[in-house]
C-alpha cells in the first residue's frame, strides 16, 4: 500500500482517543459507542473499518445467583477506567441500581482479593485471564445474550484528517482488512508474530492466552449467521445505538450514518 506507519500503544490509564485528540496518533482503534460519544461531544470521527460485530462484554461474579445486572444493586462492580463501560452504566441509570462502580486498569487481583463483588470484562481477554489464573467464577453473564449485542471495535480517524487524506485512510483501512483476512487464514503465523512483539516489549502474556484471544476475536468478527466478516458498520446497528445513547443523554443528536462512515466527505 506504500504507507509508512508507526504503531503507538495507549497506556493503561491514557486511552487511544486521548492520543488522537492530543495529536499523538492519526488513526486509532476504538469502541463504537466511545467513538459515537466522542463524535457528538469532542471530535468528529470517521469509521474506516468495523472489525467486530458483536458484544464481547461479560460480567464475572463471585456469587452463583447473578442472572442479571440488577442482582448486583448496591454492590461493588469493577469497570474499566478507560472506555467499554457505557452499556452497563446505561442499565444502572435506567434501573436505578446504585451500583458502586470501581474503576480498574486490571480487575484480576481486585477480584481475587475480594475488594469487588463482580467485574466487567471481555470474553476475549479478562474471562480467559481469570480462567487461566485458576479462578472458577460463580457466574458469567454475557451481555450479547441480554439484548445488548452491539458492535464494538473499529478503526477511526478524525473527520478533519479524513477530509485531508481520504486516499491514505482508505488504503489504511484496506490494509487492515487484508491483514485480518491473512490472520484468519494464517492463525499460527499470526500468533508467532504477536508473541515476538510481546516478548520484545515485555508484555506479560503467553501464547495460550493469545491463541484463545485470537479465536474469540475472529468469532465476533463474523455476523450473526456466522458468515465471512463484512468489516463494515451496519446502519441498523448505528440507528439502535443512536436511540439508546440519546435516551440516556450520552449524545445530543443522532450520528449521521453516511457521514460517520465517510461517504459524505
Amino acid at each position: 500500500m506504500g504507507l509508512d506507519v508507526e504503531i503507538v500503544h495507549p497506556t493503561k490509564s491514557y486511552s487511544s482517543l486521548n492520543m488522537l485528540k492530543d495529536g499523538t496518533t492519526n488513526i486509532i482503534t476504538s469502541e463504537l459507542i466511545q467513538a459515537m460519544v466522542a463524535t457528538d461531544k469532542e471530535i468528529k470521527l470517521v469509521n474506516l473499518l468495523q472489525t467486530t460485530q458483536h458484544s464481547t462484554l461479560v460480567l464475572i461474579s463471585h456469587s452463583k445467583d447473578i442472572k442479571k445486572l440488577s442482582n448486583l444493586a448496591g454492590r461493588r462492580v469493577g469497570i474499566w477506567k478507560v472506555g467499554f463501560g457505557e452499556v452497563p452504566h446505561m442499565i444502572d441509570e435506567e434501573q436505578n441500581l446504585g451500583i458502586e462502580w470501581i474503576q480498574f486498569i486490571n480487575p484480576l487481583n481486585m477480584y481475587i482479593s475480594g475488594a469487588i463483588d463482580a467485574t466487567l470484562g471481555k470474553s476475549y481477554n479478562e474471562q480467559i485471564l481469570f480462567s487461566m489464573s485458576g479462578i472458577t467464577p460463580g457466574s458469567i453473564l454475557e451481555f450479547s445474550r441480554l439484548g445488548y449485542d452491539y458492535p464494538e471495535d473499529g478503526l477511526y480517524v478524525s473527520e478533519e484528517f479524513y477530509k485531508k487524506y481520504p486516499e491514505l485512510c482508505k488504503k489504511f483501512a484496506e490494509a487492515s482488512r487484508k491483514g485480518w483476512e491473512w490472520v484468519r487464514n494464517n492463525r499460527n503465523e499470526a500468533l508467532d508474530i504477536v508473541m515476538k512483539y510481546v516478548k520484545s516489549e515485555n508484555v506479560p502474556t503467553n501464547v495460550y492466552n493469545q491463541k484463545w484471544m485470537l479465536e474469540t476475536i475472529l468469532q465476533v468478527q463474523e455476523d450473526v449467521k456466522g458468515r465471512e466478516p463484512s468489516y463494515t458498520l451496519s446502519s441498523d446497528a448505528l440507528e439502535i445505538l443512536n436511540k439508546e445513547l440519546i435516551e440516556h443523554s450520552y449524545i445530543s443528536k443522532p450520528i449521521e450514518y453516511k457521514r460517520f462512515i465517510g461517504e459524505e466527505q
Binding site: T11, K12, S13, Y14, R76, K81, I102, Q103, F104, I105, N106, L108, N109, M110, I112, S113, G114, A115, I116, I128, S131, M132, S133, G134, I135, T136, K199, N202, P204, T205, N206, Y208, N209, W212
Partner: protein
C-alpha cells in the same frame, strides 16, 4: 482330517497348575498390596520431607516480608506530622529505604487533589538506582495514574494493608516487584493516602531456587493469581500461569490445585505433563498467600519402589519354581492310589468283582473311596447272585408261557381250509395274541350239515384271560353239540362261566349256526362287535345284532337270538376289538369306519386273503407301535 490324539491329563498335573495359579494370584495380591503400601509410605515421607523444606523456606520469606511490614508501621506514624509541608514527605520515604535493605522503593501516595498546591497527583517516591543510591521523584502522571494501581486501589477498598501480587512496575522501579501498602486515615477516619514499600523479588528467586528437596526436583512459586513468580524457565515468569498450558482441562487434580492456590492452602497433587507424571508439593506463604511448590518426577520418588518390585518378581518366580519341585512328588504320592482304584474299576468292569483294592493307611477321602469300592464289590457280587436266580426264574416262566401258547393255539382250529371236501363253504381265521397267551378265541365245527361257530374276546390279557378262553372253548364244543339254538348255547355258556366267577372276568362273543343246506343263519351276540356282511356285490354292512350282556357276568341272563337268510357268495366277517382299536404311535385307533371302508368291494377276495389283507393294513396303521390287544379275525363264505 485326522483328529489329534488327546494327551492324557493327570490329576497331579492339574492340581499343580491350580496350586501354581492360586499361589501366583496370592503372591501378586500380597506383593501388590505391599508395593502399594510401600509407595504410599514413600510418598508420605517424600511429602513430609518436601513440606519440611517448604516450611523452612516459607519461614524465611515470611520473616523478610514481616520485617518490611514492621518498617512501614514504624514509619507511617510520621506522615500526619508532615502534611503541612508536603515536600518533607520525601524524607519519610527515603528514611524507610535507609532502615530496611530489602525495600527497593517507597511512596506516600495521596488521594486526588489532596494538596491543592500539588495538583491531582501527589506521590513522593524514593527508590534505589542502579548504583544503589537512594533517589526520589513524584510518581503520578497522566500516563501513570497510581490511583488505579492494585497497590493503591485494593487496600483502599479493603481498608486494610495489602501485599500486591508481583508485577513489573513500568511506572516506577521497572523490575518485578511486590508492594506492601498500608492505608492512612485522618482523624475522621477518612483515607487520605497509602504508604507503600516495594520489594524487588530477586532475593525470592534465589531463596526458592536454593531448595533441593530431591535429586531431580525443581521449585517454583506462584502468586494468588497463579502467575509464575519463580520458575526455572524465566520466560514463564509473570507471563504464564500454572494453568495456562492446561486451559480448558478440568481434571480432579487441576481443580484441587486451583482451589488450593486461590485459597492459600498446602497440599499435593499428581500431575501429568507430556506422558510424564509429577508430584507437586505446595505450601502457601502466610503473609501473601503466594504458593511455593516443589515439583518432583514420580519416577524419582518411586525409584526404590521399582527396585523393590523387580526384586519381589524375581523372588516370586523362585518361590513358585521351588513350590513346583517340592510339591510335585507329594501330590503324586497322594493321587497314586486313585490310579490304582482306576485299575480296580476296570477289572470290576470286566467281571472281576473280587479284584484286590489298594492299601490305604490314611483316614481321609481316600479311605472313604476304598470303603466305597469294597461296598461296591460286595453289592455287585450279591446283585449278580440275585440276577442269576431272577434270570433262571424268568427263563422258566418264558418256557412255560411258550408251552401255554402252544397249548392255547392247539385249542383253536388252525388247519385251513378246514373243510376241503366241501364246496359250499370256505372258512379261514387268524388269532395273534398281544402276549405269549391271550384271551381271544374262535372255534367252529359242522354237525348235521350245520356250521357252528364262535368268536370271542375275554376281558383282560395274559394267563387269566387265556384260562377263561380255554374254558369257553371247551364249553362251546360240549354245549353246542347238544343244541342248535344259539340262545340256549349262549345262556348255558353264560351260566357255566358265571358260576364261581370270583374274579369277575367276562367274555364277549358272537355265536352263529349256519344251515348249510338252507343258508339260514341263526346267531346270538354277547356284547361282541357286530360282524360284517360282505355281499357278493361288494357291499359291506354290519349284521343287525341285539347286544346282550357279555358272558360270565350274570348267571340266568336271558340271551336273545336272531336269525337271517345268508345268501350264497356272501361272506360273514367276524373280528375282535383288537382290529378296530389297534393304535399307532399317536394313539389313533384303526376304527370301525376304516375297517368297513377297507372291506368295501373286496368280495372277490377269498376269506384267507381278506384276513391277511386286513392284518397287513392294521400293521401298516400301527406303524411299529406295540400291539396292545389280541387280534382275531374269522371269515366264512357261503358258496
Amino acid at each position: 482330517m485326522k483328529r489329534k490324539k488327546k494327551n492324557k491329563e493327570s490329576i497331579s498335573g492339574r492340581l499343580m497348575v491350580r496350586v501354581l495359579i492360586v499361589s501366583a494370584i496370592i503372591f501378586t495380591l500380597t506383593f501388590g498390596f505391599f508395593l502399594r503400601m510401600s509407595a504410599n509410605k514413600m510418598r508420605e515421607e517424600a511429602a513430609e520431607h518436601a513440606h519440611s523444606e517448604l516450611s523452612n523456606t516459607i519461614h524465611q520469606i515470611d520473616a523478610i516480608l514481616h520485617s518490611v511490614e514492621i518498617a512501614v508501621e514504624n514509619t507511617a506514624w510520621m506522615v500526619p506530622y508532615r502534611l503541612d509541608s508536603p515536600d518533607y514527605l520525601y524524607g519519610i520515604t527515603e528514611r524507610l529505604l535507609q532502615n530496611n535493605e530489602f525495600i527497593y522503593g517507597s511512596a506516600v501516595a495521596f488521594e486526588p487533589n489532596y494538596f491543592s498546591s500539588q495538583g491531582y497527583y501527589f506521590s513522593p517516591y524514593s527508590y534505589r538506582d542502579d548504583n544503589g543510591e537512594i533517589k526520589s521523584k513524584q510518581l503520578g502522571t497522566d500516563t501513570y495514574d497510581y490511583h488505579y494501581m492494585d497497590w493503591y486501589q485494593i487496600p483502599k477498598l479493603l481498608n486494610k494493608p495489602y501485599w500486591s501480587e508481583p508485577y513489573y512496575d513500568d511506572g516506577g522501579g521497572e523490575k518485578m516487584m511486590t508492594t506492601y501498602s498500608k492505608p492512612l486515615y485522618d482523624s475522621d477516619g477518612k483515607l487520605y493516602a497509602i504508604i507503600t514499600a516495594d520489594l524487588s523479588l530477586e532475593w525470592l528467586t534465589d531463596l526458592v531456587g536454593q531448595i533441593q528437596a530431591f535429586e531431580t526436583s525443581y521449585n517454583l512459586m506462584v502468586s494468588r493469581n497463579a502467575s509464575f513468580i519463580v520458575h526455572p524457565d524465566h520466560d514463564l515468569i509473570l507471563n504464564e500461569t500454572i494453568f495456562s498450558s492446561t486451559y480448558g482441562d478440568k481434571d480432579e487434580s487441576l481443580v484441587k490445585l486451583q482451589d488450593d492456590i486461590i485459597n492459600g492452602r498446602a497440599g499435593e497433587v499428581l500431575r501429568t505433563k507430556k506422558d510424564d507424571k509429577f508430584f507437586v508439593f505446595y505450601s502457601p506463604v502466610e503473609t501473601t498467600q503466594w504458593t511455593v511448590a516443589i515439583v518432583c518426577p514420580r519416577s524419582e520418588l518411586y525409584m526404590q519402589v521399582r527396585v523393590l518390585r523387580a526384586m519381589l518378581i524375581i523372588l516370586g518366580v523362585i518361590a513358585l519354581l521351588l513350590m513346583i519341585v517340592l510339591n510335585y512328588n507329594g501330590i503324586r504320592k497322594v493321587v497314586a492310589p486313585i490310579e490304582k482304584f482306576s485299575d480296580v474299576a476296570k477289572k470290576i468292569a470286566k467281571g472281576d468283582f473280587t479284584a484286590e483294592l489298594p492299601q490305604i493307611r490314611s483316614n481321609d477321602e481316600l479311605r472313604e473311596l476304598h470303603d466305597s469300592f469294597g461296598y461296591l464289590q460286595q453289592s455287585l457280587v450279591q446283585y449278580m447272585e440275585e440276577l442269576k436266580t431272577t434270570t433262571a426264574n424268568k427263563e422258566r416262566i418264558e418256557s412255560e408261557l411258550r408251552i401255554a401258547h402252544a397249548i392255547q393255539m392247539g385249542m383253536i382250529p388252525k388247519l385251513f381250509p378246514p373243510f376241503p371236501e366241501r364246496d359250499d363253504l370256505e372258512l379261514s381265521a387268524k388269532l395273534v395274541p398281544a402276549k405269549e397267551v391271550g384271551g381271544d378265541l374262535y372255534d367252529f365245527f359242522i354237525e348235521n350239515e350245520k356250521l357252528y361257530f364262535i368268536i370271542g374276546d375275554v376281558s383282560g390279557k395274559g394267563i387269566p384271560a387265556s384260562l377263561v378262553m380255554a374254558v369257553t372253548c371247551r364249553l362251546f364244543r360240549s354245549i353246542a353239540s347238544h343244541s342248535d339254538n344259539p340262545e340256549e348255547i349262549m345262556a348255558s355258556l353264560n351260566d357255566s362261566l358265571a358260576d364261581g366267577n370270583e374274579s369277575n372276568m367276562f367274555c364277549t362273543a358272537f355265536l352263529g349256526i349256519l344251515d348249510l343246506k338252507s343258508g339260514q343263519l341263526k346267531y346270538c351276540n354277547a356284547g361282541h362287535n357286530a360282524p360284517l356282511v360282505i355281499e357278493n356285490s361288494g357291499k359291506v354292512y354290519p349284521v343287525d345284532v341285539v347286544p346282550n350282556l357279555p358272558l360270565g357276568l350274570f348267571g340266568g341272563y336271558p340271551y336273545q337270538g336272531q336269525e337271517m337268510a345268508f345268501c350264497k357268495q356272501n361272506m360273514l366277517y367276524m373280528f375282535t376289538d383288537g382290529v378296530s382299536e389297534a393304535e399307532n404311535n399317536s394313539k389313533q385307533l384303526f376304527g370301525d369306519e376304516r375297517l368297513i371302508a377297507l372291506l368295501n368291494f373286496k368280495s372277490a377276495m377269498e376269506p384267507n386273503e381278506l384276513i391277511n389283507y386286513t392284518f397287513a393294513e392294521v400293521q401298516h396303521h400301527a406303524d411299529g407301535a406295540e400291539q396292545s390287544d389280541d387280534i382275531t379275525i374269522m371269515c366264512l363264505k357261503y358258496c
